[in-house]
């Protein structure tokens, strides 16, 4: 196969690491001023409206691995088309514009019209619909993403598309006859195999995890390139119906108390503090090892 069509589906999420411990303490049901239920009746979680949005960790790796696969195929004289889409709605636009500048030829956002957190079934229906609309041989996804971290979306998409699915993918390289040499982490440990298309590949803890940065020149050259918008109806998905029949519902949130004391060890210099830490907390414990 001389031409390989790669479609990457990605998620945009609040940067949860930017929240303070107090924000999480308030987010649990057991907090006095705990979260209000969302209109859908499920717990609302922490307030994230003012938190910056980032790519899902594994989704970012998937986007970069697709670019590297395109580059590796180009070295063999093979053509690759790249498309990216997100079901995050307009919040994905800035990321999609960046992807156009990086060489993705098509960029699309799906307007779900509803919050999809903790709704892997509805998410998978939209992702499968978007992938079919964009028509790829390989669908690349992140293996999981917050806040739900369900880890099942790639499999639900694969099931809907009738494709095999490999998850925890860490490397993708060209192989002969349009196939791919894929390294992934299975229960047995790291595995490398030749994979035929069409397939779904869900990226896991890849060493290549950061998306490259486009040049200003590339950004300017692609600024007129449009981000295509699909509604759920365009993809044949009734989101309300999908959410209603979501078979597992979030019904409560609790804070996690890890029960540590957090005692600060004092001292004037690093050596003083190390001595105090050793004498007060470590000496006896290390001697018993």
């Amino acid at each position: 196969m001389d031409q390989l069509r790669i479609v990457v589906g990605f998620k945009v999420t609040p940067d949860y690491e930017a929240l303070r411990p107090a924000d999480w303490a308030r987010a649990g049901d057991d907090a006095a001023d705990g979260p209000e239920a969302s209109p859908g009746g499920r717990p609302g979680g922490p307030e994230t409206r003012f938190v910056r949005r980032i790519l899902g960790v594994f989704d970012e790796a998937a986007l970069e691995l697709a670019l590297r696969l395109r580059d590796a195929r180009a070295e063999r004289g093979l053509q690759t088309s790249l498309a990216a889409f997100s079901v995050a709605g307009r919040v994905a636009d800035s990321f999609l514009k960046t992807l156009l500048a990086l060489g993705y030829e098509r960029a699309a956002r799906v307007e779900a019209g509803a919050a999809l957190d903790f709704a892997p079934g509805a998410t998978a229906a939209l992702v499968a619909g978007g992938a079919q609309r964009l028509g790829g041989d390989v669908l690349l996804l992140g293996s999981r993403c917050g806040p739900g971290d369900s880890g099942v979306v790639p499999f639900l998409v694969a099931e809907a598309l009738g494709r095999p699915c490999l998850t925890q993918v860490t490397e993708i390289a060209p192989a002969d006859r349009g196939r791919l040499r894929v390294t992934f982490t299975a229960d047995a440990g790291p595995v490398r195999a030749i994979v035929s298309t069409p397939c779904v590949l869900a990226v896991g803890n890849a060493v290549v995890s950061m998306l490259r940065v486009p040049t200003l020149k590339d950004r300017l050259a692609t600024r007129e390139q449009p981000v295509v918008a699909f509604s759920a109806a365009d993809l044949g998905v009734d989101v309300t119906e999908e959410l209603d029949r979501e078979p597992a519902a979030l019904v409560g949130l609790e804070t996690i108390d890890r029960g540590r004391a957090g005692v600060i060890v004092g001292g004037a210099t690093p050596a003083d503090k190390a001595r105090a830490l050793y004498e007060t907390h470590l000496r006896a414990r290390l001697e018993r090892l």
């Binding site: 949860y16 690491e17 929240l19 999480w24 987010a27 649990g28 922490p46 903790f118 917050g146 806040p147 971290d149 369900s150 880890g151 099942v152 499999f155 639900l156 694969a158 099931e159 095999p164 699915c165 998850t167 196939r179 992934f184 299975a186 229960d187 047995a188 440990g189 790291p190 595995v191 490398r192 195999a193 994979v195 035929s196 896991g204 060493v207 995890s209 078979p247 597992a248 519902a249 979030l250 019904v251 949130l253 609790e254 996690i256 890890r258 540590r260 004391a261 957090g262 005692v263 600060i264 060890v265 001292g267 690093p270 503090k273 190390a274 830490l277 050793y278 907390h281 470590l282 090892l289």
Partner: protein
């Protein structure tokens, strides 16, 4: 007592690859301590193990590891989740069950998700505990990157759940006697997906045994500042006789080998003493050290999450404090 014709609970055990003993213990631990359905907690009494094996030589030892008395065996080729999914779907359609329990891991997630779709049930991964609720099975699992615990109600049956990695620590003896109720062989030609995966090659896994078994563990985070800083902490750890691990950002910066990674993406350790140097304390990392008996932290930011998640903390430069500590430990050992 003979098993019911339609078992309520099915424990699915993959014996086609290494690590089956850990998976069997996790299933047994969950059935005994993590599952509360019915009037009593004895769901395991009505459970059956559906065990997959690839090599006939492993069949008998797999039966011995089964977490339930009743065992049904299915022989399947390695790396064929499509065939396993088909067998599970046929099993469900042939008599049904309320609950399918899978060990954690990629295969369990795939089998649970595909079975739930095909049988109009519900799937949930990384479950820490489950109990009967008013309208279904209520399960607990970490959400929001391990910042919070979520309670989920699974309404559609069969409930298909995979276990949180914590259940792999279960020290449960397998059932003392077993009764093999069926033995089925799946053909490699049964699925059109047969050609999807070729030339499967198992790679050498990164050596992490020392991290899992470490009694004294030192973990370097991005606060070490550079590859040089990480290497200085590693050298100090070696002087103290401690195992050495790193956080994900350190591994992603290629300041240390990926196999040294501690946390959700790496190893889950359980040392007696853990010293965390220059890590902010992201929950995905804390998951990897939260079973430590004692956690000491060093970080320049007194408001960093790790300061509150440790038993004791030093607010200062991580490299300087760890090297000073190594000097002290070395002197104490000489005296």
């Amino acid at each position: 007592m003979s098993a019911p014709a339609t078992p309520r609970v099915v424990a699915v055990l993959d014996g086609t690859c290494v690590g089956v003993d850990r998976r069997a213990r996790a299933l047994a631990g969950f059935l005994r301590d993590g599952l509360r359905i019915g009037k009593d907690a004895g769901a395991a009494a009505e459970a059956v193990t559906l065990a997959f094996y690839a090599d006939s030589g492993a069949r008998d030892s797999l039966v011995e590891l089964a977490p339930t008395r009743d065992v049904r065996l299915i022989r399947a080729p390695e790396f064929r989740p499509d065939l396993m999914s088909g067998a599970l779907t046929a099993f469900e359609a042939g008599g049904g069950a309320e609950l399918f329990v899978f060990p954690g891991g990629p295969l369990g997630a795939e089998l649970a998700a595909r079975l739930a779709v095909r049988s109009a049930g519900s799937a949930l991964t990384d479950v820490q505990g489950a109990a009967a609720g008013p309208a279904g099975l209520v399960c607990r699992r970490a959400v929001y990157s391990n910042h919070l615990t979520g309670r989920f109600e699974l309404r559609a049956r069969p409930w298909c759940i995979t276990l949180d990695a914590g259940w792999y620590d279960a020290r449960i003896e397998p059932a003392s006697e077993h009764s093999v109720r069926a033995d089925v062989e799946l053909s490699a030609e049964e699925s059109s997906a047969a050609a999807a995966l070729r030339h499967v090659e198992l790679l050498e896994p990164p050596e992490t045994g020392d991290l899992e078994a470490a009694k004294f563990l030192i973990v370097a985070g991005r606060g070490a500042g550079s590859r040089g800083g990480v290497e200085r902490i590693a050298a100090a750890a070696a002087r103290m006789g401690a195992a050495f691990g790193v956080t994900r950002p350190v591994a992603m910066n290629a300041w240390a080998p990926a196999g040294r990674q501690i946390g959700v993406s790496g190893t889950r350790a359980a040392p007696v003493v853990c010293l965390v140097a220059g890590a902010s304390g992201a929950p995905a990392f804390l998951w990897g050290v939260e079973r430590a008996g004692f956690i000491a932290a060093v970080d320049t930011d007194e408001h960093a999450a790790i300061v509150h998640e440790a038993d004791a903390a030093v607010v200062d430069d991580a490299v300087a404090v760890v090297e000073a500590l190594a000097d002290i430990v070395a002197r104490e050992r000489q005296s």
